[in-house]
């Protein structure tokens, strides 16, 4: 799914050049659930931007879904972001003036999907995420968890090769965060490739592979034999809350 080889990124601001990534080689297979962790400044955001085709590497190659994307132009990048990548952000990044339904349709709008088809698929995916009675609500009328679920629906809508989630639970309370993680785990069980960027180890432990980054390098690549199960954690939390 993702094959990067000796990928590096250097930012130059005037006289200074700051290396953000120092030659990373990494394979992510289809169906994986990878968490990238690290302190701020470790390079995980840069990694995310490069994987998400929001930025270009300074050196190295990047194969996405079997296609070398290292040397494509802006328009191709936009098209690939649209078709191959589903973004989920910490701050949801929904358009405040659009309803949940319209927000989900937006990705399909840029894919050129016909109106009826857009409506149909957006309805399907929002229903899947339990938002069928929130279709015509605006983001400010929804809770954080609901907003993030709308964002996940939007990320899923074009059947992307990979979901890139950047601190998706960062703006949510712990229980709602777990609910979001349980959605990701369920999606992953159904075969969706997910790359999660987080600095919280508790969240990272829900994935099946943790990449630890520091100073622009991957310093640890660890398979998680038994990831945490968000669904069970929620149950446990509920029981505890019930007893209290």
């Amino acid at each position: 799914m993702i094959k990067i080889n000796n990928l590096s990124k250097t930012y130059s601001t005037g006289a200074f050049t700051v290396p953000a990534l120092k030659g990373i080689t990494l394979d992510i297979a289809p169906g994986e659930f990878v968490a990238i962790t690290g302190a701020s400044g470790s390079g995980k955001s840069t990694m995310m931007n490069l994987l998400g085709l929001l930025d270009r590497p300074s050196e190295g190659s990047y194969l996405l879904d079997g296609m070398d994307v290292s040397n494509l132009n802006d328009d191709d990048y936009a098209r690939l972001r649209n078709r191959k990548i589903g973004f989920v952000f910490q701050a949801f990044n929904l358009l405040p003036r659009l309803t949940a339904l319209k927000n989900v349709e937006l990705s399909m709008l840029y894919a050129g999907t016909k109106h009826e088809e857009r409506r149909k698929r957006a309805l399907e995916v929002l229903t899947l995420l339990g938002l069928e009675d929130r279709l015509h609500h605006f983001p400010n009328e929804l809770s954080g968890g609901q907003n993030q679920r709308v964002a996940i629906a939007r990320a899923l809508i074009n059947n992307p090769a990979i979901i890139l989630a950047d601190e998706p639970t960062g703006a949510l309370d712990s229980q709602t965060g777990l609910e979001i993680m349980s959605i990701f785990q369920e999606l992953n069980r159904q075969g969706t490739t997910i790359v999660l960027v987080t600095h919280e180890l508790n969240i990272a432990r829900h994935s099946r592979r943790i990449l630890r980054m520091a100073d622009g390098l991957i310093i640890n690549d660890e398979e998680i034999a038994r990831p945490l199960d968000a669904h069970n954690e929620i149950q446990a939390l509920r029981e505890k809350g019930g007893r209290a």
Partner: protein, 394 residues
Amino acid sequence: MNIGELILVAIESIKSNKLRSFLTTLGIVIGIAAVIAVVGIGQGGRAMLMQEMEKFGTNMFGIWVNYRDGESFRLDDLQINDITVIKENVPQVKYLAPASYGQMQLRGSKGHKSVQVIGTTADYAQVRNLETVWGRFIRDDDAAVGRRVIVLDERTALKLFGPGNPVGKKVMLMSNSAVVVGVIKSDSSMLGFNSQQIAYLPWSFLSRLNGWEVIHELQGSASSKEEVEAAMNLSKKILERRHHAPNHYYAYSLEQEMESANKVTGIMTLIIGCIAGISLLVGGIGVMNIMLVSVTERTREIGIRMALGARRKDILVQFIIESIVLCLLGGFIGIILGYGGALLVARLAKWPPLVSGWTVLLAVGFSVAVGLFFGIYPANKASKMDPIEALRRD
């Protein structure tokens, strides 16, 4: 993303900030309203003017004596025989009448009034398209036999005799009397040519009253519009030859007058167009200003759209369309307000409002052009944003 969807996106964005959108577009509204109102009023006025002038018949022409500095007035510069000679020799001249002007006190059974009197012949009615209400106009045999008759206009007749048909009644003028043989319709013209009260006398009768023969002006009409020029110039030539006085006569035609009136209104329209253009320019700068603010405010939206797969071109077109839709909206409001204004003024001035399809089309075209021109810079700025930077912004 197709154009229809982009327009919907633009409308949604405009709707979401109604007050600001309205204030932004105000400059365009005022500019377009001003153009539509002024052009509408101007064209209405011009149409009215033309209509009034055409009442006289577009075939009409006139000849004056052209006195230069130091030349003194002479009674015999235009003579009654000149008319006969011109009519015999210039086939293009259909009617030709003398006009001798004066002011006289008229007294009837019910009142008296000082009016303008015109001494003339039967042709005058044809030249000026006069309409008789009662009786008849002056006839050629009146002049021939020196009959003491008078034709009044409606208003004078009312003043002298009260309502009703005054034909056959006697009018005292100076120490003489004349019989009313006809009443002609008063002109309700806005131009004021004929709006004063007028009485017509046979030219020979007026000469006898005055004690001298004088013709101030010849008024004629050509047999067709195309022949006005020839009729006018040939008549002038005959006068010059008969009186051995080159360049002594001045000829004019209604056609010429209309042309110069048209030229004046044309220049007016041009000046107004320039002023309107400037106001639209100012309006356009306002739109650009707000679009720039809007682009900055919506940086994050731009970032989100880019992350979801919007190409730079999509962002560019989105903002340009938003700018055009904004200006078009202003244009439409402006057209409605301007048309209302033109209607109001026309109602007050009693002439038809004339807002042509072309004016509206031009206004719409101008709105689009302003939106496009002043939308490009902000839209370009939006499309050049770095998606990472844009997403990071609050």
